[in-house]
Symmetry: C3
């Protein structure tokens, strides 16, 4: 697995996929920089007059609802439908799922459009399942919890999406496959939007790698390993944000392979 994922990382850098982001205001800059550092090319565009045309020229789409509103949610639907029509992968990052009725309503609509991959934390994953009236059993919000994993399995079954529950351990679920990724550092939670960057990088991998389970794993391990190495050299979250971008750009095979922590 180690070597396959490293090859995927190299493949993305060589291919420079064009990624269309309809994402939140807070993370646009960092997301664009994370995509560039990992070897992809970002486009941020949300106008109802052009999102469909942007989907046409890009190789994957990210929909992140962090700062959604009535206008943006229409753009998200239009773009997701167009991606489906053209057979292009799209990633859903349901930031803040469960926080408000409005957010849950938009999420339920987006799920009906069957995202290729869903990446979210455990409480968001459980909120997604609930918003779609799928069975859930509780409110525990660690990725390793049985409740979150059951919700992820329900989402995978109902919508045919690869599901990544991110947290101290990241868990990736797809049909009978399950991976647990143990990289990362607690300081990463003190930088806003690293989960959003992970979703965008997942899109870059989904654009190039046919196997979406492996694409998601490669993206999440890359973020985890780079974040872990960057955190070691960071006095705080300000430095970490910068060091992470540097490491996404210059990580070596040896660094990657020696930090890799994954269990099936």
């Amino acid at each position: 697995m180690k070597n396959i994922l490293w090859q995927h990382i190299q493949k993305v850098k060589k291919s420079v996929p064009l990624i269309h982001n309809i994402t939140n205001y807070v993370v646009m800059n960092n997301t664009a920089n994370a995509l560039l550092a990992a070897g992809a090319s970002p486009i941020m565009s949300h106008a109802q007059s052009e999102v469909e045309d942007m989907v046409k020229i890009c190789q994957a789409l990210v929909i992140n609802i962090g700062t959604l509103d009535e206008y943006w949610s229409i753009s998200m639907m239009k773009a997701a439908k167009k991606a489906n029509e053209l057979g292009k992968p799209w990633i859903l990052d349901p930031v803040g799922a469960g926080a408000t009725p409005y957010r849950n309503e938009i999420i339920a609509e987006l799920l009906q459009l069957k995202p290729t991959i869903i990446r979210a934390n455990a409480s968001e994953i459980m909120a997604l399942a609930k918003a779609s009236n799928l069975p859930t059993k509780g409110v525990d919000s660690t990725a390793e919890s049985t409740e979150a994993i059951e919700a992820a399995k329900s989402l995978n079954k109902e919508f045919n999406a690869t599901v990544c529950i991110s947290g101290e351990t990241d868990i990736i679920i797809d049909k009978d496959q399950k991976l647990s990724l143990k990289n990362g550092d607690a300081l990463m939670a003190k930088v806003t939007g690293l989960g959003c960057s992970a979703s965008a990088i997942t899109a870059a991998f989904a654009a190039i790698i046919e196997n979406k389970f492996e694409a998601t794993a490669a993206a999440m391990v890359l973020m985890g390993v780079c974040g872990e190495i960057a955190a070691k050299n960071s006095a705080g979250p300000g430095s970490l944000q910068l060091n992470l971008l540097d490491k996404l750009y210059n990580i070596s095979e040896e660094e990657f392979l020696s930090h890799f922590k994954i269990s099936e």
Copy 2:
């Protein structure tokens, strides 16, 4: 005072208050990171369909008009009214007050909703007083000027808000209380949005500390001391932005107490 403010800082870090920000596009990322570094948890949300529900789950609200428009100003009013209804503190940062008639009109409406705390520079404070037809005497824009202090006292009296005039010296006014804070560094003015970060951190303290005069003082001293220490290790404004976030995260009691400069 020193020790009380340090205890407030620790209390915020332990409580991790959830802060709802309706703020400007320029500073959203930095504001979220400043809140995380100081120990709070940020939410950025502006949709008219959900701002009231967001106010419900948060402990304080920030309204920052930096990049306001017709849609966002309605969201601001809705959120402020809901905060009042629920007895939650809200902070007004009237960025660019006085720059255009439209901005003054929105500010006058927001003031009618009686913000708990107002934080702004001296010229903005004077513009607020003028927009509300309160007596002002001039256009001098240093915080220490008599004109700005008189405007702050009028605003405090009229709207019952704690008022912080920020500048080389920060001045906090509330009824018969007045504090002068002397921390900070001139380089801070070369980083965009540090005032906006100060307002957001003030909200985090107002969420937890009952005494709003002390809450405002703790937030402003924290920003001033951390900025001052960070500036000493910064070659320019790029480094300062990063070092400030690191320092907000890792400041020690000794650093805080030894840099503290305040006069009553």
Copy 3:
């Protein structure tokens, strides 16, 4: 030329021009910080209710269509018309020109309002010429290509705008004048929005320097030299973003003159 451009840089720092930016969400923070570091004062404002009033109090305007939509495009038109009416310079940064029909339509309308300066990469410059039905001959996208230079000359002739084609070499065209700037570093392309920062800084120079060809040259050389020096001390794109802001702030005459690479 060297010494004239250095004097222009000093003149901007002394004058602190107020620059109105209607720009994209991705780069607002960096653009504001780049303007501050170079000695200007940024305003970001897009509300239809106030853009004309903001143009009145600023000394130059930047219109950057990176994340345009139907609302923002109206604000852009209003602001550009007001700048023309008041005889204030405005800079067009046509991000993503050619990517969608909608973008081309808005660009064609903005060009009719005759920007003072256009700054874009080679493929965008060719898309501008095409969107205005000016003669073009191909799709090569390096700044040095004959095709891009011909498109720039057509734009200059048709709209009377100084045109800067940015790339590995930056080329500035105005009537019979042409400059080639050779500063910069390949790593700069891995940081999002440095072109947008260059456009904003160009506005700061256009606000103060009467000769727009020299204003554009001074801004582009400043960005190129600072980026080149910053890149040498950067482990990756995260560090570069920060080091560039530091260098824009603290560049010395000796550094500037010794790195300067320009040919007429």
